[in-house]
Symmetry: C3
Subunit: 340 residues, 3 copies
């Protein structure tokens, strides 16, 4: 393992742009940081967090991770602290937007050493949404590294934290069996978590089984990338509609609710469809098909709707360590991206 | 006086759970801290402030107290930075709540060394409100100490700061006469301040006279505790409807407006009732019944409605030192609860 | 140049209260700070930012400037973190205001070493607006220095940063020709930037040409002060309706949109009037009248409405350095006002 950061200056937008070695290097660094006093290596450095959508765990864990290392964080909320932004190049800005993203990104780059963005779906067609224009525009125009705090397509810091959690619980994750299983939620939730977790599993050589109702497939482009990546790393990806079969013999079960891309922007039809699957809940009976398996969920959890209390609160549940590890992985990422 | 903190690891939710010695120990520590350069003893430590209701003095004084000692503060607003919370154990979460308080509290405990909560009345019956479910739930589920930044029942940091202010102005407060006097306000204000101040007075052995219109009694459970406590500490509690008699010969007059528990959740009737008492204002004439008495108020003040300018701006007024002392007492509390 | 700060303890509300020597002293200090590691000279110090109106650049640059020097910042939003304020002395506060500005200012003075205020127009007559009552009230009642983060009348930190930017680009600005030119914007924007820039230019002895449609004159009181000041410093002020003539031979062109004082509070008429001037845009053709001239704008920029892309993105454009220099000038101001 190299001593010097292999990811200095890089954007953290998806795990797809990192090699398995780089991902493991950061996980190991996070493990070391957990045992060390934080010190103040980020004194004089600053992070600008820009929220186009609200957040709890990410806002709190980003801010605390950066500040307890001595750094400065500012927290900007689009629509309150930011002018409405124009994203089209060369636009005649006579409409609602007061500032062009190129100007906002260049100015924030002068004020901050890192810029972190949260930006979810904006009511466009899926083909448009999946281009993640907000974060891609900041990547294009900023002169400092960009962190993705959850976009339409990905949630890399969640996935990287999960890699740390799996490593702590199971040892090196390569070759382990992970079941990613769709569960019911009263709302159509984003796809960033299942995308990010699948990418991470593929990169690290896990055997991944994905189980969801047929209308709830992951984005085809992401799925193709995940399958290609798994092949390269010695892992595998299997789709399996029946959650009981999917979970069978797994080392870890990752539950997540997500909306249907096929019904994107048809919320009433999607809700009606989703209701048909409202019995897809992670129960102790389902978990019994994978004796000893760890349980993961990115939170927030609708208890007894997505997952039974008995599963969330079991000794095999990793949901709280998952949230805690966000802090540690992000510390490792901040330092590594800043070349420290 | 012990050198080591006698309150390490404790929740600061009401002064009722602290002994007179512990309360005085913190007051003395705050006095010492005022004379010392702050240093950075809280470097690497973090405080999560969670606001279910807005705040000025408390938000500012908590954040500045913690940060100027080198610590990290995050400021979370329920309904913006937090998911809507479920408080019932075992609930099937198919309604409005997206996250269970047990999960939110456990996760925040991983991110922060202390959690501070502001949570006022929520439109329930008084019998429900007075249970202070929000703060009690965080106490139950968090693994780090909880600070009360004002709940339905109490405002311990205000009261603890007032103990410091009284000690600075009058010397050791035991045996001193404090008149807590209800004053008119166009709105029905919370009871946390009069409850907290009464508890503090009883703990420290003051002779407390409480004066209010008959429909504006304090919570009976709190009042019974205050009376019991005063007996134990050599103080006393006297109720006295006439404010002029109540103030007679007092060493300090504490003015506060508060709503009627009897009319809780009947705002129109309560407002009509309250209007009948709109002449209950602290005037120089009233203060003249207690020559030399100090004047206290927890702010904000409706000048010339609750209290005349001539009283607020008199040399005997302690309203600004009261606000300033919040900072110093909270510094002493943070360090002491963290075992430093 | 003196070694000790000549502006310790001063309010930073307008450049009009500073001498040319003091303004240059701070510019030179900012230039030195750009080359030095920040250190933590503000450890234990705190800044309270109070926003009566939203902000991007100012909020971010104030917070980062103060914090990366080791200080603590709290960010208070009126109407969320502040009670509604009463500004009239001796008022009977039975209306909407819950707290008097004298109390809010005195309390914040106990919590913070500096108070910074943003407060724009409030829907009053111009004669009232121009008195800048909010910031003037804080100046009157606080016991610590006040910073203006943009008021109705002025935006001194923008102007001071622009002085740094002009100095870096052109050398000592005295004797240089600056064209301040009105440009169209779909909204009536504040006058604080053109006022502040004009004051700065006059103080530093520039030859200033101001160009605007006839209904868009600057505030007569400000303009008279600017003319008087220019005479004293060896500069000059010229009004010139035709932007082409105004720009002719300038060393720098500063574009800004602003509303009509004459039509203040008559938004529909003002909008109709303004539309007549919608062709007043800074184009490469206009800039060609001042070969080599630098281009300035305080941002946000409505690209291709106020200014063409080709001007904003030209090598002669200083818009990004202007924004960056806010940070450096504010650092110099914080330290100097605090007597460091």
């Amino acid at each position: 393992m190299p001593d010097r950061s292999p990811i200095a200056g890089r954007d953290v937008v998806t795990l797809d742009t990192f090699s398995p070695e780089e991902i493991r290097w950061v996980v190991e660094r996070a493990q070391r940081l957990k045992r060390e006093p934080p010190g103040a290596p980020l004194a004089g450095r600053s992070l600008a967090m820009v929220f186009f959508n609200p957040s709890l765990r990410t806002r709190a864990s980003f801010a605390i991770a950066f500040r307890t290392l001595g750094g400065t964080v500012i927290d900007l909320e689009a629509g309150r602290d930011l002018w409405p932004l124009e994203f089209r190049e060369g636009a005649v800005m006579a409409g609602a937007a007061d500032e062009h993203v190129s100007d906002a990104a260049r100015v924030l780059s002068e004020y901050a050493d890192l810029i972190a963005i949260r930006s979810l779906a904006r009511g466009l067609d899926w083909a448009q949404e999946r281009r993640d224009l907000v974060i891609v525009s900041f990547q294009k125009h900023s002169t400092v590294p960009i962190f993705n705090m959850e976009s339409v397509l990905d949630h890399p810091c969640q996935a990287w934290g999960d890699a740390l959690t799996l490593t702590e619980a199971l040892g090196p994750p390569a070759g382990r069996r992970l079941a990613l299983t769709w569960c019911y939620h009263p709302k159509a939730r984003p796809l960033a978590v299942p995308h990010g977790v699948s990418t991470m599993a593929a990169k690290l050589g896990l055997h991944l089984t994905i189980s969801h109702p047929e209308e709830y497939a992951l984005d085809p482009g992401v799925l193709a990338m995940v399958q290609r990546t798994a092949e390269e790393s010695g892992g595998s990806v299997r789709l399996c509609e029946d959650p009981r079969a999917a979970v069978e013999g797994a080392d870890a079960v990752y539950a997540a609710p997500w909306g249907s891309i096929r019904y994107h922007n048809r919320p009433e039809e999607e809700a009606e469809l989703r209701l048909r699957y409202r019995e897809r809940r992670v129960t102790p009976e389902l978990m019994a098909r994978a004796p000893g398996a760890r349980f993961l969920h990115a939170m927030p959890i609708r208890r007894n709707v997505e997952v039974d209390d008995a599963v969330v609160d079991a000794p095999t549940s990793l949901v709280v360590p998952q949230a805690a590890n966000r802090l540690h992985v992000q510390r490792a990422l901040f330092l590594s991206v800043l070349g420290m």
